[in-house]
């Protein structure tokens, strides 16, 4: 006897994610799920962001890795609102792990939460964590075909970062080919090309975060940070 069910397989994760979303919304926290392959520069980006923006906004961090506390130790220099989540064999964060992390943060004292997902271009994308936006990160060193080979992260991201632009002269990377693939996968996505190491166009990323964090409600449009962001 066959019985139709027709339910999203990840329904239970999505229900938990929705609870996280409400928790963050109630606390007034803007949240980012930062995804990208190992070594694309996620942790360095967050370090630089903390260095630059910590005087202007309160940033909390959840950072996912299979093992070690190294990323949290790197970022602890700039904030104490940080929780390292070790996933063991898990190749991505899920909504339950994020909820446990959120319970360890003082959300009322956070403007923007950055969730650094486990380094992986595939698995993290399908698991809703309760974030406001997903940000996908690529780097020049990975090659220009990575967007086409990983369509889901491009399709689901609100913003894409292309890091390590300083390596462009040394790597066989076609910017037009990369952009063509992105346009086919998600013609609405915003793209910022940056170099964390030499700070190329980092101001555009900082402006994006400021606008997303403080520009969403009219009453905050006159905040010092928005003025500072220009």
């Amino acid at each position: 006897m066959k019985i139709a069910v027709v339910e999203n397989v990840l329904k239970l994760n999505d229900e938990l994610a929705q609870q996280n979303r409400q928790l963050l919304k109630d606390a007034g926290v803007f949240s980012i799920d930062l995804m990208g392959s190992p070594g694309c520069g996620k942790t360095s980006l967050i370090e630089r962001t903390l260095q630059h923006l910590r005087r202007h906004m309160k940033i909390g961090i959840l950072v996912g890795d299979l093992t070690t506390q190294r990323d949290a130790q790197r970022m602890a220099e700039y904030t104490d609102q940080i929780v390292q989540i070790n996933t063991g064999k898990g190749c991505h964060l899920d909504a339950n792990q994020v909820r446990q992390g959120l319970d360890q943060l003082d959300l009322k004292n956070i403007d923007c939460l950055i969730i650094e997902n486990v380094g992986n271009l595939i698995c993290p994308v399908g698991f809703d964590l309760g974030q406001d936006v997903k940000v996908g990160m690529f780097s020049i060193a990975e090659g220009d075909d990575k967007a086409a080979k990983h369509p889901y992260i491009v399709h689901e991201s609100s913003l894409l970062l292309l890091n390590k632009m300083d390596l462009l002269p040394y790597v066989n990377f076609s910017i037009p080919n990369f952009l063509e693939d992105i346009n086919q996968l998600n013609s609405n996505v915003e793209l910022i090309d940056i170099s964390v190491s030499n700070r190329y166009q980092m101001h555009r990323w900082f402006e994006w975060i400021c606008k997303q964090t403080f520009g969403r409600s009219e009453q905050n449009n006159e905040s010092p940070v928005m003025n500072w962001c220009g």
Binding site: M1, E7, N8, V9, L12, I122, C123, G126, P151, H155
Partner: protein, 123 residues
């Protein structure tokens, strides 16, 4: 390797259905190509996870779904196995509009179990 997480989620969802797990003969799951699911890996994850559980006799049936592309020139949506396929109107760059599905489609109950199942009770 997100296939193990997907199987874990699937089993939790099955546990919510109004049947005992040992009554289930097969489970049908469909997924679009964007989900990046490797069927062999999914089947392996399924077998590893259900071993020595009430679901041990259940078979997983995986149904891959096609890409869905949208042509902005002629405003048509079409299904294709090739994500880079052009539209029939000649547009070489239709945009992606579907292929991210991940659905528990149906369950099959052993016939002898079905006689006693919750669905057969008429009060």
């Amino acid at each position: 390797m997100h296939e193990f997480s997907i199987v874990d989620s699937l089993i939790k969802l099955i546990d919510r259905q109004p049947f005992d797990s040992h009554e289930i003969k097969s489970v049908v799951v469909s997924a679009g190509p964007m989900r990046g699911i490797d069927e062999n890996c999914l089947q392996w994850a399924w077998k590893e996870t259900i071993h020595d559980t009430m679901l041990e006799k259940a078979t997983l049936i995986f149904k891959p779904l096609p890409w869905v592309l949208h042509c902005k020139q002629c405003d048509k949506k079409f299904e294709t196995e090739d994500f880079g396929a052009p539209c029939q109107c000649g547009n070489p760059n239709p945009t992606l509009s579907g292929g991210d599905e991940l659905t528990l489609e149906s369950l099959e109950i052993f016939e002898d179990q079905y006689d006693n199942s919750i669905l057969n009770k008429t009060d």
